[in-house]
């Protein structure tokens, strides 16, 4: 009985653990908590669905990352996968469908649910507030027959239109794995703050400094605390993602990034508070 009580008390304290060391970064020494495509991959709400985003905000996130793709009729939608087959009742690529076709689709990963695919505009209409952060992760998945540069030109223009319409310049970021897209977007709208999203830290650092970017978005597995410090010393913000467990969240916090895109929003918000 005593042992059970002691274990219960220890468990209670462990689950309420709070971060208590000093944060030093370029974001006024605080870490902004962003949901990973909403409430993250472990949530019962499908990533990039409206319900997932709303749930993430209700858990106290400062903002969210979202995956952005372009439809056949050039509408920006929030969707992650290369194909619709794996997570929806539709088939093919987003780029092969018009928005009207996509709007009739739904996520079918959780049985008996029909959460809708949404436009980026829908998300902003429903959740915009001036202190909410949005990071648009650009997924370049064009049709094989179209010109890549033409596709990127249209994509960049649509992103720029969105920033203008909702005046997102102070609260939203764009991240991309493609230096070519980053250059295209910078040519279209130089006021948008951009992050390179590399696999290797040094590659990202080189592209970020070479193109005067706002920062680097990188997996927590591919960056150390020292590398975060070094990026900060060059004036680059650092966003860490790929943090699924509580332990990974705590380890990410120790690195002092400016933002964390987490799959455990509730936990990270409580931990940092």
């Amino acid at each position: 009985m005593k042992v059970t009580l002691i274990i219960s008390i220890l468990f209670l304290f462990a689950s309420c653990k709070k971060h208590n060391s000093t944060i030093t970064n370029l974001n006024s020494n605080k870490i902004d908590v962003l949901g990973h495509a909403g409430s993250g991959i472990a949530s019962l709400y499908p990533i990039n669905s409206m319900e997932s985003f709303l749930n993430c905000f209700s858990e106290g996130a400062n903002g969210t990352e979202l995956d952005v793709q372009l439809t056949a009729d050039d509408v920006l939608v929030a969707f992650h996968d290369e194909n619709l087959n794996n997570s929806t009742n539709l088939t093919g690529k987003v780029r092969s469908k018009t928005w009207e076709e996509l709007s009739n689709g739904f996520y079918d990963v959780v049985p008996m649910t029909q959460y809708k695919i949404i436009r980026v505009k829908d998300l902003l209409e429903a959740t915009y507030s001036s202190d909410r952060i949005f990071t648009f992760d650009i997924k370049l998945l064009q049709d094989s027959q179209e010109s890549q540069q033409l596709y990127m030109d249209v994509f960049a223009q649509k992103i720029s239109d969105l920033f203008i319409e909702y005046n997102l310049y102070d609260q939203a970021f764009v991240e991309s794995q493609s230096e070519a897209f980053i250059l295209t977007l910078a040519g279209t709208d130089s006021s948008i703050k951009q992050f390179i999203y590399p696999q290797i830290f040094e590659d990202g650092l080189s592209i970020a400094t070479g193109n005067d970017l706002f920062g680097i978005t990188i997996s927590t597995k591919n960056i150390s605390a020292e590398q975060v410090d070094f990026a900060h010393s060059l004036g680059l913000r650092v966003t860490i993602w790929d943090v699924h467990s509580k332990k990974e969240n705590r380890e990410a916090v120790i690195k002092n990034p400016d933002m964390i895109q987490t799959d455990k929003v509730n936990y990270l918000v409580q931990y940092l508070n």
């Binding site: 319900e51 858990e59 049985p111 008996m112 649910t113 029909q114 809708k116």
Partner: protein, 162 residues
């Protein structure tokens, strides 16, 4: 299919005759199955002969207790089943199920409960322990989502007979 299920449920007491020696009530907990990721429920058996039994089950489940606006507003998943069992200690099961769902969704800038009905076939094996009132079972339960779209599904259950 829903009408067929309801008709069979209503006719059950007249189709069957109880046998005193058989425990005809059970509560169970199910992982997977026709309650999506799991459910709890009650089962009533109607013995027809030494080897044959009919059973009706009603359960309840949810996906989220708290909705995406952080309000207590559980999704509702309400499975009902009618099954035939053959055997005594080791039983084969075949059954039909209908699951009513009320899932919270964000529609037209508001939280709305989307009600739907889903069908399922159940093909399973059940083991009734002889020295205690427990039973376990495993089953394949392909579902027809909204009676239109087939998904392959299955589950495990453990129950207590009384």
């Amino acid at each position: 299919m829903l009408k067929l299920l309801i008709s069979l449920l209503l006719l059950f007491p007249f189709l069957t005759k109880a046998q005193d020696s058989v425990k005809v009530n059970a509560v169970y907990i199910e992982a997977g199955g026709i309650g999506a990721y799991g459910s709890i429920g009650y089962e009533r058996l109607f013995p027809i002969s030494i080897k044959w039994q009919l059973g009706t089950r009603a359960g309840i489940s949810t996906l989220n207790f708290v909705d995406f606006n952080d309000k207590f507003n559980p999704d509702l998943i309400l499975p009902i089943t009618i099954s035939g069992y053959y055997g005594s200690k080791h039983q084969a099961e075949i059954g039909l199920a209908n699951t009513i769902t009320g899932i919270n969704e964000f529609v037209n800038n508001d939280t709305k409960r989307n009600w739907s009905a889903n069908g399922a076939l159940i093909i399973g094996y059940r083991f009734n322990a002889s020295r205690n009132p427990l039973f376990v079972k495993c089953f394949y339960s392909p579902m027809l989502i909204e009676y239109k779209r087939l998904i392959h599904w299955g589950g495990l259950a453990i129950g207590f007979r009384f």
